[in-house]
């Protein structure tokens, strides 16, 4: 599908009652956001092991039970929000930043450079995201930083392609031709006239992309390629807990539920914003 050009009326604020799906997603994101900003509000040390109380079922003392080392699963899920979300956000920031830059470059330079860059985006986009990220991690090694960069590179083509397409449209717009006629410098042309007008769809795309980035991050951590133990990361917790599924479902299912709820919420909000942006909810 394609991103439609912004219609003026879609920017108008409308007072409507939020639908329950959106409300639930907002609540989840608010909770996750608080957990990221201030985990100590909810839970204590996520690394405190207690070998005498391992794999205990959820109770008043441990809302989500304890894991194989007697650590509080709820505490780990709360503290894990910061790990999982920050990887997703950082990766999306990299992808958006690099995507805008490369997209602009492709849209504004002459034909051959555009061709080369565009085929580059196509090649990157042709790989499944996880495979591309795995490839990068295989070269750069495991760890949080390389995980962030890997996901950033893997998701970059989405943004670059959209920016390039928008740039091609905008550079033909009358106000740009007029600015050229008035003798605006190249830098001023790009920064003042082109850039602001190609960024319209990016926040919406980034919102949806963030959910995807969080999901890939959790998936790669599940494979042991992200933050190393004992870091409380949702994907890693799922992976560590799966050996105990028969007897302690909470150690893996609840971190999994946290990933699911977060990704679904981000996607619901992203879709909603996309709909509004395209004027579908008018």
């Amino acid at each position: 599908m394609t991103i439609a050009l912004p219609r003026p009326e879609s920017r108008r604020l409308t007072l409507r009652r939020p639908r329950p799906g959106i409300a639930a997603a907002l609540i989840v994101l608010a909770l996750v956001g608080t957990a990221v900003a201030w985990p100590a509000l909810f839970a204590g040390d996520p690394l405190a092991a207690d070998p005498l109380h391992v794999l205990q079922a959820p109770s008043a003392a441990h809302w989500f039970g304890t894991d194989q080392l007697g650590r509080d699963v709820f505490g780990r899920v709360v503290h894990g929000a910061r790990h999982s979300l920050s990887i997703g956000v950082a990766a999306t920031v990299i992808a958006v930043g690099a995507g805008i830059l490369l997209g602009l470059l492709a849209g504004l330079t002459h034909r051959y450079a555009d061709e080369a860059l565009s085929r580059g985006f196509d090649a990157l986009a042709a790989f499944p995201l996880v495979l591309l990220a795995l490839l990068f991690i295989a070269i750069a090694g495991t760890g949080t930083t390389s995980l962030i960069v890997a996901i950033g590179i893997a998701t970059l083509p989405h943004y670059a392609r959209v920016v390039r397409a928008q740039t091609l449209v905008v550079r033909q717009a009358p106000y740009v031709t007029h600015a050229v006629a008035f003798g605006a410098s190249r830098t001023r042309l790009v920064l003042r006239h082109v850039l602001p007008n190609v960024l319209g769809p990016i926040p919406v795309l980034a919102m949806i992309g963030l959910g995807e980035a969080v999901l890939i991050a959790a998936g790669l951590s599940f494979l042991g390629l992200g933050p190393q133990p004992p870091s409380p990361e949702w994907g890693a917790m799922l992976s560590e807990g799966r050996g105990y599924l028969h007897i302690a479902w909470w150690a893996s299912v609840l971190p999994g539920a946290a990933v699911t709820a977060t990704v679904i919420s981000l996607t619901v909000i992203g879709r909603h914003l996309q709909g509004r942006f395209e004027g579908r909810h008018q």
Partner: protein, 546 residues
């Protein structure tokens, strides 16, 4: 942009729910059993560890031992009392000076490629070890005193030693001492990796290996030379057997409860209840011989070059509590580098150290690690008290990675020590060991004679002496233990070794005595553990009840 894929998470959740809810098989009226031994049938066996090699001379993983004896055999084997029993040999003599061992060999044995087994074959196998780079570890310890092998006649072979060495007999009963067809030794393209191209004399022939998945053996119909310790003679009962490599314990147990495999080895303590509660399944355990699973503290690197820091590390771990948490009371705590089933085990070491957090903190304060950083770790001269443990994935068994995390949490909480654990592939681990980029080295060895393990791990020339220990007195004690055939003298020598590394120098933190578990369908008969070694035996005596 419809590219969101929650599929990964949803699949995992779905798997989680279905496996959590899968019913145990219904208790049938009248529990069936395997009945009398019968010939025929195919068995599928799920194992935890994929061998890094199928060449028995290169054998390094205790968990791979059960595969070795299917295809290969040694001159001697062990009985249940720790003595030696003839296998491919019919008997041996030791000269009065202890320097010449003469073996009489069976004359009715052929390799599966048609080659005859004789004295020349034995010599060819031993000579292979003399090839540079083939297996320096064995050459440095088990064969360090070997002068030459002499073919007296086709059925007689003599080992001449430079000085007495009792470990020779143990070596000739281990997988490394197993006999490979001389033709394979000459012609195999990838000798060190082994595989279908290496022929042995065993009851099965390896005919297919799919890396990462499974290895397949078919019966050797001509086999008729089982040792007296076997439960039957003649060819094996099973037509063929497939070993599937299922690294995840929950997957192995799931494969057994769902009937995809008939027998599994390596059942974690947390899953044992699932097996024992099911009347269609049986569970058995064997305690391994050899060295205990221990953390060896690298005295060549700071901060473990300081005895007080080594002692503090050991005091900081409440091993009993950690083992209880990880293994739920099924693990046997080790107090010495030698396993508790060995005759050389020094029982007096028990309860002499460990688990004293106050003492750990006192020692660290004394050693100058007085400051703490924001995360609560001790600091000295701006450096955090960090020690690194690098675990090689192919050697991780019994949830040793989880155990490492438990120890990591324990030393942090009780003494502010930062144990940095990295679980990596074998290449990375080998590199880290070569570079000395570690302070903790973890190891257990399932040698039937613990002396072999001590020589490898603690002698200054040992192939896996990873802790920089070079002490003439220690070397002498290890050499004495290897030289004497007298049990009392050996016990005394190894008592000194244990005192040095445990009590005096705190070079070792023993954790637990490795054990193996077998869980099988009641239809599987004859499965058991090797005498003395305590590891799961080969498939030779196993049959599948109708």
């Amino acid at each position: 942009m419809r590219r969101i894929r929650p599929a990964v998470v949803i699949t995992v959740l779905a798997l989680a729910l279905t496996s959590a809810c899968s019913p145990a098989s219904s208790g049938a009226a009248g529990v069936p059993d395997a009945g009398q031994p019968v010939s025929g049938g195919s068995l599928t066996w799920a194992v935890e560890t994929e061998p890094i090699t199928f060449n028995p001379h290169q054998y390094a993983q205790a968990k791979a031992r059960l595969l070795v004896w299917n295809t290969f055999e040694a001159l001697l084997t062990h009985d249940g009392q720790g003595g030696y029993v003839p296998w491919l040999a019919t008997g041996y003599d030791v000269s009065s000076d202890g320097k010449t061992y003469t073996f009489k060999l069976r004359t009715d044995v052929t390799f599966s490629d048609g080659e005859k087994f004789d004295a020349a074959a034995v010599k060819a196998n031993i000579d292979q070890f003399l090839v540079e780079g083939y297996n320096p570890g064995v050459l440095a310890v088990q064969l360090r005193y070997l002068d030459k092998v002499e073919v007296v006649d086709p059925a007689t072979v003599a080992f001449h030693l430079k000085q007495p060495d009792v470990l020779l007999l143990d070596f000739l009963s281990t997988p490394q001492g197993a006999q490979i067809s001389p033709k394979s030794l000459k012609e195999a393209k990838n000798l060190k990796a082994g595989g279908p191209e290496l022929a042995g004399t065993g009851p099965f022939v390896l005919d297919r290996y799919t890396a990462g998945q499974e290895v397949h053996f078919v019966r050797n119909p001509r086999y008729n030379w089982a040792p007296s310790t076997a439960k039957h003679q003649g060819p094996a009962y099973l037509d063929d057997i497939t070993y599937r490599f299922l690294k995840e314990s929950s997957v192995r147990v799931g494969a057994l409860t769902s009937g995809q495999v008939q027998i599994v080895e390596g059942v974690p303590a947390t899953d044992e209840a699932l097996i024992t509660a099911n009347p269609q399944l049986t569970l058995s355990r064997g305690l391994n011989s050899g060295s205990a699973y221990s953390y060896y503290l690298n005295s060549a690197n700071a901060p473990f070059d300081d005895l007080r820091v080594r002692q503090a590390f050991r005091e900081a771990v409440d091993v009993d509590a950690v083992l209880d948490g990880v293994y739920r009371g099924t693990a046997t705590r080790a107090w010495s580098v030698i396993g508790p089933t060995s005759p050389f085990y020094d029982k007096s070491l028990e309860k002499t150290y460990g688990g004293d957090a106050a003492e750990a903190n006192r020692l660290l304060d004394e050693a100058g690690w007085t400051a703490r950083d924001a995360e609560g770790f001790r600091v000295k001269d701006g450096r955090r008290l960090t020690v690194r443990l690098v675990q090689s994935a192919p050697f991780v068994r019994d949830r040793r990675d989880v155990l490492a995390q438990a120890v990591q949490a324990a030393v942090k909480q009780s003494a502010g020590i930062d144990l940095n654990v990295a679980l990596v592939d074998q290449g990375t681990a080998t590199q880290a060991l070569a570079d000395g980029a570690y302070e903790v080295f973890d190891n257990s060895r399932a040698d039937t004679d613990a002396g072999a393990a001590l020589g490898l791990l603690l002698h200054s020339g040992g192939a896996i002496n990873r802790i920089g220990v070079k002490d003439p007195a220690l070397d002498t004690a290890i050499e004495q233990g290897q030289a004497s055939g007298d049990q009392a003298k050996r016990t005394e020598a190894y008592r000194q070794v244990q005192k040095f590394v445990i009590t005096d120098q705190a070079l070792v933190l023993p954790l637990y005595a490795p054990a193996d578990q077998l869980a099988a369908s009641v239809k599987v008969g004859g499965a058991g553990f090797e005498p003395t070694a305590g590891v799961p035996g080969s498939a030779y005596d196993i049959w599948l009840g109708k």
